[in-house]
Symmetry: C2
Subunit: 277 residues, 2 copies
């Protein structure tokens, strides 16, 4: 009934955290102190702390101690909005700025390559399709916030949308750019939201500690043109513990209104190493 020792210690500490006896930012006590307090070995105490880490309640800092994690104010990304507008252009910047945080995005890294199986299917194209990928890293208030990669069929470039293969921002956003250039209008899109563990590159970029609370949210947006065919796919990856997504359907009160279709915000600086990407 009582369960293993490390679990008892962990739940006792968890109760103290939830009751507020241990406040966010407080030190849990050193491993030595916990050993003596609970009369357990160091490894058992460490197992208890690991249990708390996995549940996101505490974090350890080498050389300093173990601390109760401060509550994070998540950034809310609204998935619904005007289908005529993209998410890769000024929208993102204005949406973030509206929450009084400071957005930054790297210049896109552009590559041309063969589509994977899932991408070819998402674009309803053959397995040998060539795509343009535009990859961007985004920051809010200086902390890494999302990795975003958009995929466009190469034939859009052949039809004249040469801006897609230039490693510079399209100030209007690529969705607007494609409408102006090729007359392709995004009449709708479909997002899917999944949660998965990060790969090494993501864990590194988001500075996810190697210990536990590791999960990222992946959103995939497929944009459809007036002919009902998909013409772009955007994959965005976010750290799970700093983000919330919102969906508005029907009539919702004004304070939750979907983001504006056009930006009026000022130009926003890009990250310091933008030239490198």
């Amino acid at each position: 009934m009582v369960g293993p020792r490390y679990r008892q210690i962990a739940e006792d500490l968890r109760d103290q955290i939830e009751l507020g006896t241990l406040a966010p930012g407080d030190q849990l006590g050193t491993e030595l102190e916990l050993q003596e307090r609970y009369n357990a070995s160091r490894n058992t105490v460490r197992d208890a702390v690991k249990w708390l880490i996995i549940r996101g309640l505490v974090e350890t800092r080498p050389g300093q101690g173990t601390f109760v994690r401060p509550e994070i104010v998540p950034f809310v990304t609204t998935l619904t909005g005007d289908p005529q507008a993209g998410r890769d252009g000024p929208i993102y910047l204005s949406e973030v700025a509206a929450s009084r945080r400071t957005p930054m995005g790297s210049h896109p890294r552009v590559e041309v390559r063969r589509a994977d199986a899932w991408l070819a299917e998402a674009l309803r194209a053959g397995a040998d399709t060539t795509v343009v990928t535009r990859h961007q890293r985004r920051f809010i208030d200086g902390t890494p916030w999302s990795l975003q990669t958009s995929y466009y069929p190469m034939n859009l470039v052949e039809r004249g949308a040469v801006g897609l293969i230039q490693a510079s921002d399209l100030e209007e956003g690529t969705v607007e750019y494609l409408r102006q250039k090729l007359g392709i209008s995004q009449v709708g899109y479909r997002d899917t939201v999944t949660v998965r563990p990060p790969d090494n590159a993501e864990a590194d970029f988001f500075r996810l500690p190697d210990d536990g609370r590791v999960a990222v949210i992946e959103t995939r947006r497929t944009g459809f043109g007036a002919d009902g065919a998909p013409f772009r796919v955007t994959v965005s990856v976010y750290p799970a513990d700093r983000n919330t997504f919102a969906v508005n359907v029907g009539v919702v009160p004004g304070e939750f209104a979907d983001p504006p279709a056009a930006s009026t915000g000022p130009a926003v600086g890009t990250e310091a190493d933008a030239g490198r990407v």
Copy 2:
């Protein structure tokens, strides 16, 4: 540059999994075998396995061994749809059945209690508001799939919607019931999607192993009436590794169409212990 020993072992095993040398369901090898293969101590090997567990790549079964996790086909829940329809009635059942899986839901457990701070704010009510809570557990193909709790202001009952405080299913769904009974029409709703660690009850219900890959997705739906005021909040919790959410905006091709507003499906059985809840 090489990093710790357990990490090297873990990444070597991960590579074998991703390359297919180790297929889903395969045994990784016993701890003793891994000790000898990598010339490391048992605890170091166990640390490597823990790293893989946290990333969802393997699972351990006491007395049996460590196995590569089979790929899970996520169930897709569409968040967009007809605001006139709820998600707690026949919609859920028909949506699941449409994917050729077998849905089951417990009868609701009904309670009347004081609203917490966040709930009072979500309902735009005073801190001392009384609410009706209707809690349901849902299963798909016999495995626990979601925990759902809906909150309604108690004054809806006083105005005549007595069905809300009865522990039986409202076959039409509560949204439709409220429209028929009180003329309250849900003209819109707002969903928020967040990821967090499970509490004990959730870990128990979803049978989340105590070891690692523990995360749940919480969706909160606030329904708004024609007057723009919220009249219900539904909180749903899902295991993160078995679920995907979809959002359709604008015109999307038919195969992704939002769920129907009304169900034509047959009556579906409830879980065995439905009488107990």
